[in-house]
């Protein structure tokens, strides 16, 4: 019975965000385990960096009508 619980941060998001996180993971691994379509377990100390990068990634998809 080997039962070593793994410490980490459990993240819940929609599936689109999860896929973005998996793509980011290929460059800079931080995912410990992929739970299901909406959940991931990621390294606890990486959480802040991951959030920042995710925001930057999502910003690329926004469009704003600021002309002046």
């Amino acid at each position: 019975m080997n039962r070593r619980p793994i410490v980490g941060t459990y993240s819940c998001s929609d599936s689109a965000v999860k896929q973005i996180l998996l793509t980011m993971n290929e460059k800079d691994p931080f995912v410990i385990e992929d739970l299901d379509d909406y959940h991931l377990v990621i390294k606890a100390d990486e959480e802040y960096r991951v959030r920042r990068e995710l925001e930057a990634e999502l910003e690329k998809n926004t469009y704003s009508l600021e002309t002046n």
Binding site: M1, P5, L35, V41
Partner: protein
């Protein structure tokens, strides 16, 4: 005794939100409260802070000499109103106004005699303030000057909060005020020495002046004990102020040492006006006289020849529940036109709007994604922005139904949701269970403790919270130990 029994319509009427001071009073001891009730003005002010049902009950019991049987009183209550009646009684007992045993119902005798004095005008305790004699060589301040003074003091404080850390240099309020702002968590010095506004500070800015004032005063009361000020003196002085006449001068002679020390603090907040620090007389401003009333605390600073019907008691009739005249027009193209020249209001709008143009009486801006996200990042919520815009909406907007365009409201909320796409929680992932039965056993235990965030029976693993980890691990070890 004709009594309007609590009918069903009374219960549906929107609940009178309990005044924020009441929980503070309820946390005080009975001796403190009884000492407070010795002064008629305090009793009257507290009476005005209570809800309608409590007030009715007090008036019913006020002129009785002996205690009333509890059964008699509850016979007047219709079954639908029972809950409201019980909660009103609970509030009154919590404040030690009513002594409630299961059989008899009576008012606290000190409270009873003081309130009677307040209503019938008897006694000479001077608790309503002793007017200064009229042999003044200099003219006393008139109402316009008092209003201007109060407005200037109050807006200095708010303006300092808004524009700190944004590169502007507003006039600083006094040291005492800064200390109070810091203690109440509205500002802190996060980056070095300068004070910066916090997210609760931002939320504070969007409240009405009445709520803001009481927020600060409650903080002041909490600090009173540390500064060795007698809480009863402080409270009774505040209540005395709230019953004074606007525009009349009062003498400082009968005030105690604590109360004289308070005068300086209250000057900084704009509650009283004194010609100079050593002056023997002071005048309350509108902020003070409306402490326990529902009249607007500040005169509308941009009254365009509108409703300034102040009489000497400072009671201005409320118009449709808005504190000041509304000045914001919001269009469906996200543009905002604010008819104001008040720098504080402009600064508050600047928190969540991108300014475009500025005219002597008009400010034009747009609600953009960037500006709203900046506000959301500072801790303001979408609901607060929407309720601020609703409260200060220009009278012309009232033709629309709903008041604010639905598209704009929804978009603000969507921008808020955008920020919350990823939620996270720290914890432990439990996997590698030897058998299904093992897994289910541990899972059941963890569920009992309510620490399970996610589970998957097929893969035989689940995720538990950080706090529950110690318990679950202990449980597992006991199982492996015994197995």
């Amino acid at each position: 005794m004709p009594v309007q029994s609590l009918q069903k319509t009374d219960v549906i009427v929107p609940q009178h939100a309990p005044h924020p001071l009441l929980p503070f009073l309820q946390s005080q001891s009975q001796t403190t409260l009884t000492r407070l009730y010795q002064r008629p003005s305090s009793c009257l002010s507290i009476f005005r802070l209570l809800g309608p049902i409590e007030r009715q009950l007090i008036m019913n019991l006020l002129w009785l000499e002996s205690a009333l049987s509890a059964a008699t009183m509850s016979a007047w209550v219709l079954p639908e109103g029972k809950n409201a009646y019980d909660s009103a009684l609970a509030v009154m007992t919590g404040l030690h106004i009513a002594q409630n045993s299961a059989v008899k119902l009576a008012l606290n005798p000190t409270f009873k005699s003081s309130l009677r004095q307040a209503i019938t005008g008897g006694g000479n305790t001077g608790s309503f303030g002793v007017p200064a004699d009229n042999s003044a060589r200099r003219q006393s301040a008139n109402i316009e000057n008092l209003d201007a003074y109060a407005l200037e003091r109050w807006e200095t404080i708010l303006h300092y909060m808004v524009s700190s850390g944004q590169g502007q240099n507003p006039t600083k309020p006094s040291q005492g005020v800064l200390y109070l702002l810091q203690r109440s968590g509205l500002m802190n010095n996060a980056h070095g020495a300068a004070l910066q506004i916090t997210s609760s500070g931002f939320q504070f800015l969007l409240h009405s002046p009445h709520d803001q004032l009481w927020n600060l005063l409650l903080q002041y009361l909490h600090m009173a004990e540390e500064r060795q000020m007698d809480l009863v003196e402080v409270l009774s002085f505040l209540f005395m102020l709230s019953t004074m006449d606007l525009g009349r001068e009062y003498s400082t002679e009968p005030l105690s040492e604590t109360q004289k020390a308070m005068l300086e603090d209250l000057r900084d907040y704009g509650l009283v006006w004194q010609r100079k620090t050593s002056s023997k007389r002071f005048s309350p401003t509108r902020l003070a006289t409306t402490l326990t009333s529902s009249s607007p605390s500040l005169p509308s600073s941009h009254s365009t020849g509108g409703s300034r019907t102040a009489d000497s008691t400072g009671a201005v009739a409320l118009s449709s529940g808005t504190v000041q005249q509304g000045f914001i027009v919001l269009e469906t193209n996200y543009r905002i036109y604010a008819y104001t020249d008040n720098p504080l209001q402009t600064a508050v709008l600047n928190l969540f709007i991108t300014m475009k143009y500025r005219f002597p009486n008009l400010v034009v801006g747009m609600l953009t994604r960037e500006s709203v996200r900046k506000a959301l990042g500072n801790g303001i919520s979408a609901d607060q922005i929407i309720s601020y815009l609703t409260t200060h909406a220009h009278p012309q907007m009232r033709k629309n139904n709903p008041l604010l365009p639905v598209t704009v409201q929804d978009q603000i909320r969507l921008w808020e949701l955008e920020r919350n796409r990823l939620k996270s929680a720290e914890g432990y992932l439990y996997k590698d269970f030897a058998s299904q039965a093992d897994y289910e056993y541990v899972l059941a235990y963890a569920k009992q403790l309510d620490v399970v965030l996610w589970e998957n029976a097929a893969k035989r693993c689940f995720f538990g919270t950080l706090e529950g980890h110690a318990n679950v691990r202990g449980f597992i070890e006991r199982r492996t130990g015994s197995a």
